[in-house]
Structures are given as structure tokens and as C-alpha cells.
Symmetry: C2
Subunit: 534 residues, 2 copies
């Protein structure tokens, strides 16, 4: 295996776009062949995109995926020395115990016009955001092939994560383990993947080639960062983060130090990727969002500009009598800094008309202002086709500090999985690249500005406190008792837990947004609405 050259095709597929995904795979095959590689490895379900959800239940989709694979097989005669290892959903012949799933999550090995064999994923993740036990029939067999004298095994993602996984039977049977991954970004995940791969490499004395997808797919962001370890668990190749790449290496390549950007940089780029691919994969012309002068909308605007460019982003400022003097200034400064267009819309007369026509309680009057703004923004979206971004953060979504059909309105919520304290950190981080977010938006006390002298901390504890408490309740599946044990006052603990529970019905209608944590709202955390347990 001395001179064996292996390439990784780190591509950004779109779920269901079989033609364009096939084109990306073919392009990477040509590049790999040009590099002299004898193997090119792609990510999990690269041909169909990942995750495909209940598309896996559609027989016609599985047949179309099979056709794409056959096309690739025909085309592979162009690269006669190349072993192509590519993921695709494969129609299962065996029946599944649940009478529901009809597909395997598979990898095919293709060479010079022939399919050498297929491997079906054996460990199907069915936790956090994953539903693979719903959508796939687990495989039962291992698959190995040879390239010259090198014995090569194939695994798919979760297969190498499980301590009881088939990867722990490789010792002595394989020299290299190729792993196709659809491993979504999470804070700290890049390091964790390497720890897992090293554990396998060391215990089994195999080299590990870890190919990941790249790109946003709904709420998931695949960050790329493919890598390879030699038999001694030393990294010999590292792919780039957040971009497509065909990279290659020989198994005898020298060690390269794992080089990862700081966490805030990775998180920022992940969010940018999520916004960009949601817009582009849905063929949306641009983005519109409300600019309040506050930190959340400022960070969302900066993410939007980094994602699709200033000329496709429009801000609308909608001040009211309760807006602070600086709100308009901060919004204007932000728009200037980012180079986006800013429209000013007044809500005063519409608000007055609602107040004239309806009896409004204090709460109703606060909410109606937020909802008038949503109507103005959605009117722009209807006029132009632009995507409305919802600017709420994880902290306020957690405790229901938002107006449903008001500021929560929008098709995509970039900060949905970002706690308020992280929003501040990301704003400061983004300003180190170039100063775009006004310091005043960062430093002033946060406010919804829906009544005179309103501030978030009239209703909520300081965000440092709140976010730490929410982490116990959400990330750790913790309880009020856990909060009390951690030193929080009992009444505060109960109040935060209750707010979290009472907002479940609002979250059930929330826009999707990019996931950066293990327990994200939406499909990452599934709780009943009618629920008597605090």
C-alpha cells in the first residue's frame, strides 16, 4: 500500500437533485483521476443528498437513485483505474420488521464500468435529529475489496461511532477503512470526530479515510473537514471546512497537524453556510429582514450579507414611538457598514387604526406592533420573493419571549440554535474580520421596545444566568432540582422551567434554523405540548 493514492470528493449535494449531484460526483472523479488516485471516496448518500427523510419511502426515488448510480457506472470507464466509493439510497430486497422502510443507506464501489459491490449501513442513528431507524433497513454484512495489495473496508458514519460497531472487527482484515459520512456540524464536533477515528485506528491498526459532506441542508450544516489518519492514527490529510474540495494523499504522506479555526469562527461560518444554502438550494432571489437596531437583527443581517452578498439583502426599519433614539441610528449604521439597502416603514398609522378598531389589552397591544411589522415584512417577501429571516435567538425561543406571527415570522431563523450570550460573542467575533456591527447594538441593554422603557431583564434574568440555566434544562435534559443543586434559587428555577415548557406550542410553529448544538429545537428535541410535568 506504499504508493496508493486516495482522493476525497468533498461535495455539496442538494437532497433530491440527482442530476446535479451526479455532476458533482463526476467532476470530482475526473479530478481524482487527474491526481493519479486509485480510490475516490465521497460522503454519505452523496448521490441523493442527505438526509432525505421520507423520500426514502418513495420507490420511484430509489429507482431514480439507482439510475444515477448506473449512469455513474457507465461514465466510470473514463477513469479506468479509479475505484469510486459513493453513497446512495438502495432499494432493499429484504423486508424490514417495521413494514415501512424499503431502503438501505448504502455505499457502492464502482470500477471501470462495473459495480464491485455494495455495503449497507449497519448502525442507524435514531437520536437527536436523526431518524434513520424510521427510513432504512439496517445492513447485516461487512464489505471489503482490494486495491493492489491493500485491503480496503467500507463503513458508513454511525458504524464507526458505536463501541459495538462492525469497525471493531477489522483488525487483521483490512489495511484501510473508508468511511462515508454525513456528519453535521456541532460545536466541538470536529475534535470529537478525530477522537473517534483515532480510537478505531489505534485499536484496529487500520488507516481511516473520513469523507464528509459539505453544505447546508435545511437545519443541518455539513462542515466538510474530511481527513485521513494513517495506521498509527496520525493525521495525514485534512480537507477544508465549508467548501467543496477534491483532495488527495498517499498513505505514506507525512503527518499534518490538525488545524482547526477557533470555535467562534467555525460557528460563524457554519451559520453563513446554513443561510446561503437554504437560500440557494430553494432558488430564493434574496433576503429581507427587519432591522431594529438591536443585536439579533444586526447579526442576522451580517450573516445574510456574508452568505449571499449585500446586493441581495434588504433591511426594513420599522420604528415606533417606543423605539429608542439610537435604534434608527444603529440600524442605519449597520446598513451602511454592510452596504445593504434600508427601507424605513412607519407602523404608527396602521397601529393607530388597529387601536381604533379593536379593544386591545396591554399584551395584545404589544403583540400587535410586532405582528404589524411581520405583515410589512411579509408584504415585501410577497412582492419580491425574498426570504424573510426570523431573527430570534435560542434563549428567547426557549422561554417564549417572542410574538408568534410577529417577530417569530420568517422562513429561516439563523439564530434559532444560538443562545443570546453566543450572539454577543459572535457579533464581537465578526467585527474582528471587519467592523460591521455597531458597538451600540452590542453594548446597549436588549429591549423589544413594545412599551415605554421596556427591557428584556424586566421579564428575564440576565442572559448569562438564563443561558446557563437553559443549558441544564435543554442540553442536559435536566430538571428544576438540577438547577437548585447547581445553586439557582428555587423560584427562579421553577420560573425558567415553566417558561420553557409553556413555549412548546410556539416552538412547534417556529421556522427552521441552522443547528449548532447537540439538542436543537425542532426535530432535535421532541416534547409534547399538553404536558403536566415541569
Amino acid at each position: 500500500m506504499q504508493n496508493l493514492r486516495i482522493a476525497i470528493g468533498q461535495i455539496n449535494p442538494t437532497v433530491g437533485e440527482l442530476d446535479s449531484n451526479l455532476a458533482r460526483v463526476s467532476k470530482a472523479c475526473a479530478e481524482a483521476s487527474e491526481m493519479g488516485a486509485e480510490i475516490v471516496l465521497f460522503g454519505e448518500l452523496a448521490l441523493s443528498g442527505y438526509p432525505i427523510g421520507d423520500l426514502a419511502l418513495r420507490r420511484d426515488f430509489l429507482e431514480s437513485s439507482e439510475q444515477a448510480l448506473q449512469q455513474l457506472t457507465s461514465d466510470s470507464t473514463q477513469w479506468p483505474n479509479l475505484n469510486i466509493v459513493v453513497g446512495y439510497p438502495r432499494l432493499a430486497t429484504e423486508s424490514h420488521a417495521n413494514d415501512w422502510a424499503i431502503a438501505h443507506n448504502s455505499a457502492a464501489v464502482i470500477k471501470n464500468g462495473t459495480i464491485l459491490g455494495t455495503y449497507d449501513k449497519r448502525h442507524l442513528p435514531n437520536y437527536t435529529v436523526f431518524d434513520e431507524w424510521r427510513n432504512y433497513v439496517p445492513g447485516t454484512e461487512s464489505f471489503e475489496f482490494e486495491v493492489g495489495e491493500t485491503r480496503v473496508a467500507v463503513m458508513i458514519c454511525e458504524d464507526i461511532w458505536r463501541p459495538q460497531g462492525p469497525v471493531y472487527d477489522l483488525s487483521g482484515l483490512a489495511d484501510v477503512c473508508l468511511v462515508l459520512n454525513g456528519s453535521p456540524f456541532e460545536k466541538g464536533k470536529n475534535e470529537l470526530r478525530r477522537t473517534i477515528a483515532e480510537r478505531v485506528s489505534k485499536s484496529q491498526k487500520v488507516a481511516i479515510v473520513y469523507a464528509n459532506l459539505v453544505g447546508g441542508q435545511d437545519d443541518l450544516i455539513f462542515d466538510g473537514d474530511s481527513f485521513a489518519l494513517n495506521k498509527n492514527a496520525s493525521q495525514i490529510f485534512q480537507g477544508s471546512l465549508f467548501e467543496e474540495q477534491t483532495g488527495s494523499f498517499e498513505m505514506t504522506s507525512p503527518t499534518v497537524q490538525a488545524k482547526l479555526p477557533i470555535q467562534l469562527s467555525r460557528t460563524w461560518d457554519a451559520l453563513v453556510q446554513g443561510v446561503r444554502d437554504y437560500v440557494d438550494k430553494n432558488s430564493i432571489p434574496g433576503i429581507v429582514l427587519g432591522l431594529s437596531g438591536g443585536i439579533d437583527s444586526a447579526v442576522c443581517a451580517a450573516l445574510a450579507v456574508d452568505a449571499i452578498g449585500a446586493q441581495r439583502v434588504k433591511g426594513i426599519a420599522m420604528p415606533s414611538v417606543y423605539s429608542s433614539d439610537s435604534s434608527m441610528t444603529d440600524a442605519e449604521t449597520l446598513a451602511d457598514n454592510l452596504g445593504i439597502s434600508l427601507e424605513i416603514a412607519q407602523i404608527k398609522d396602521i397601529h393607530a387604526q388597529f387601536q381604533h378598531d379593536l379593544d386591545l389589552s396591554d399584551l395584545a397591544d404589544e403583540n400587535i406592533q410586532s405582528r404589524i411589522r411581520a405583515l410589512i415584512l411579509m408584504a415585501d417577501s410577497n412582492n419580491s420573493g425574498r426570504l424573510l429571516l426570523s431573527t430570534g435567538n435560542k434563549s428567547e425561543i426557549a422561554v417564549g419571549y417572542s410574538t408568534i406571527y410577529g417577530d417569530s415570522a420568517g422562513g429561516y431563523a439563523p439564530l434559532k440554535d444560538v443562545y443570546k450570550t453566543e450572539v454577543y460573542a459572535l457579533a464581537n467575533f465578526r467585527n474582528t474580520r471587519s467592523e460591521v456591527i455597531p458597538q451600540n447594538s452590542i453594548s446597549k441593554p436588549p429591549s423589544a421596545e413594545l412599551r415605554p422603557d421596556q427591557h428584556d431583564q424586566q421579564s428575564l434574568p440576565d442572559y448569562e444566568v438564563l443561558d446557563a440555566m437553559l443549558e441544564v434544562l435543554i442540553e442536559n435534559h435536566g430538571s428544576i432540582d438540577d438547577l437548585i443543586t447547581a445553586g439557582y434559587p428555587a423560584d427562579l428555577a421553577a420560573d425558567v422551567a415553566k417558561k420553557l415548557k409553556m413555549a412548546e406550542w410556539k416552538r412547534a410553529q417556529g421556522a427552521i434554523g441552522p443547528r449548532i448544538s447537540k439538542v436543537s429545537f425542532g426535530r432535535g428535541r421532541r416534547l409534547p405540548i399538553a404536558n403536566g410535568y415541569l
Copy 2:
């Protein structure tokens, strides 16, 4: 086993309400004891409510459930001859392959102060709306106990549905199989459950006691309809539908014919149960909804009144210049027939103010009318605490024929899983009980009334055609080709399939509603938003 009397405690638990659930279980134990029963069987997870979703990941909740079980065990000395078979989530001692689930979905057998044993569900459904592979560790052992000379086996729901299930090892080992169920309502499910139970009874020569839950829990409706079959697969007991009941029978009881209401009656009562329990289990004081004079809002109003009574339901009519002459009359007649209060709110001046302040395309102008109505309704909800019902039906939700943050706004959508053609059938059915829905609402052509002379069929095929096509695409996971094979024109097939796909992002933000079909929108059908496959 000649004189063995068995009771079924068909209760309506609320997820997480351990105290009140325990009280319901204890009451049924007392009633069963009074009847002379030696066994009382409850539904799946009766102590905790079902399904509990990710509450199963909270250790403190599992400990609290265990405490409730211990309390029941202490209390059971009051009924010393009674074997209590009750479902609860049990903290698992074994680790699970996925490093995530920590609970079993279990049944405990309690007698006179002692827990005789526990059984852990072995087959975990993870399809349609079920996520049990996510939340539970599967059991591996069977459990039997004896009552006098009768050998009794315990199974939980899915265990008896799988052809490879443990229930097919019972022959010769058990006389009676007790099955704890959390089997949600679906059209035709009542008959299907009997078919499954008969198959087991006949092949294994065992009696089957089938206890189901009753009551609405978010989108699921448990219809009760518990039953028992003797060793010859003849029905000897049938519980009531849609109400709590403690019923009992002897194993030698004579055959009773299965007696089920017609499907429309069951479906109506299921929807009523869903609305009632969503309101009551969330402690909501009442319901508000917009009355347009159309069929959907009329049926929703009738469901609301049947669920919680006329005095807790309020209608708001919000006519516009595009409303037909009869719309107000129909809304008023409906309100009169139902005995609910009807408020009239004008949208004209608010609409004019929006038109004055904003540039509105035709689409934006249509949507803004729908959204102004949502703001008026939500203002009432904010003022009063009433639940806003969203009145959209499955057909329009499927093809996106609705305004997000407009007519789709609301906390619960009673017709979410009801096709338009079924809405008409249900309206006619309800009128056979008492004539409440105006004939004109049933007979006039459906219209959103957002522009002059607008009718649904300007944008959509006839609902008979549309619904039949949607059934192929949704219920059968079918394709455009399947529609063409079924005889629909290719362009129409492509148009409907495209509309269905393009509305995915709206559905992702839709209110929950009661499920009556196998493939319901929401957690019953999980498709990506960014998706290139039609």
C-alpha cells in the same frame, strides 16, 4: 380459568400529570375490585400518559414515574385480590446501543403491595408518528404470571402487530394474553386491531385482552374501544369509544358482536375528542375562530361546540368588499344554530391603511387581508386567553392554498388531516345529528374571497380530483408517474406534485391538529424543504 373475571381500565391520562393519572388508575382499580375482578388491565404508559416523547430522556421524570408506581403498589393493599397490570416508563439499567435512550416502555404487575414483575416492550414502532426507537431501550424477555390456574402473558401494543413478534411463541405457554395499548385512532383502525388480535388468538390458542387508552394527546386521538377475545377468537367484551370506562367480563362470557359506529361518526367523535382534550389538557378557557360563512370554519365551529360547549366558543366574522352577500348570513345562521357569540369586525379601514402605507402586489394584497384577520383573531386570543383554531383542511394545506401567518394562524387545526371532500361528508353527517351547518355553506362553491369573484377551482382542480391525487402522493408515497398511470393528465399530475412539494416550508410552521389518517402532516410525514426531487 372458568370464573376468572378481568377488568379493563380504559382511562384518559395526560402526559406528565402523574398525580392525576395515578388517581384515574386507582379509581379504576377500586371499580374493578368492586366488580370482583382478579385482574385489571390498563393501557400503554397509563401512569405517565402516552406518548411522552423526549420526557423519556429525563432521568427525574423516570424517577417520578417510579414513585407513582410505588404509590400505586402501596395503595394496592386496598384491593388484595386484584392483579394490577399498568404501563409506565421504567428507568433502564442496561445501556442502549445509541447512548441516548435510558427508559423502557414497560408494564408492571402489582398485587397486594408487591410488584410481581415487569415486562419491557420488545417491538418499538418507529414509523408514521412513532419515535420509540429514539426514546426507549427494547426489552428482551417475556413475562408471564399465574392467576389461579390461568397462565397470563403480558405484551405491549406493537408486540402483537409484528409477524415475528414474541406473541407467536405463546402457544401452549399462556391461556390469556394481556395487551397494553396506546393505539391512536385512524380511519379503519378499529377493524384492523380486531384482525390482528384474531390472528394471534387463532394461531396461539390464547384469549386476548386488549386495553387501549382514550383521549386526545396533541395530534393523537386515542379512541378507547378496548375489547377481549376468548381462546376461539370470538369477541366477549367491547369497551366504549371516546370515553373513560371500567368494564369487566369473565373468560366464559358469551360472544358479543363487534358493534362499531359508521366511519363518519367515529371520525367526527375523534376530532371532537382531539379539540376537547387539547383545550382542557392545556387549561385553555375557550376557543375563538374566524367565521367566513364557508364550510371549513363552519365545521370547525361545530367541532368546537361539540367539544367544549357553545358558551366557551366565540366566532368573529370579518367580511371585506370581496365577501359574497351570503357570507355574513351564513356565518350568522351558523352562530345562531350553534348558540355561540358572534362578533363582527371590519377589516376595511385597516386594509386601506396598509394599502396607503405600502406598495402591494396582487399576491401581497390578497395575503394581507388574510393576515389582518389573523391579527384581529390573535388580539382576541391575547385579550381573553382563548385558543385560536386554524380552520384549514388537509387538501389546502397539501397544496399550499393558504396564507402563512394568515388563515393558517392558530394553535390547533381540527381539519389538518381531513381532506376537503371529507369535510363536506362530515358536515352532512353532523347535520344528521342536528342541523347546525347552513346548507348554503355546504352547497356554494368554495372561495377564499380575497379578490373579486375568486373561487378555489380557478387555482385547483375539483376537490374530488385533487383529493384522489393527493391520496396517491401522500398516503401511498406515490409519484407523478403513478398519477399518470392512474389516468390523470401529465401536466395536472406535475402541477399537483409541485404544489405539494413547494408548500413544505409552510407546513413546517403549521399548527398541530388531530390525526385521522396513516400519513398525517407533521411528525407523520417528514420531508426535506430543500429538495430537488418532484
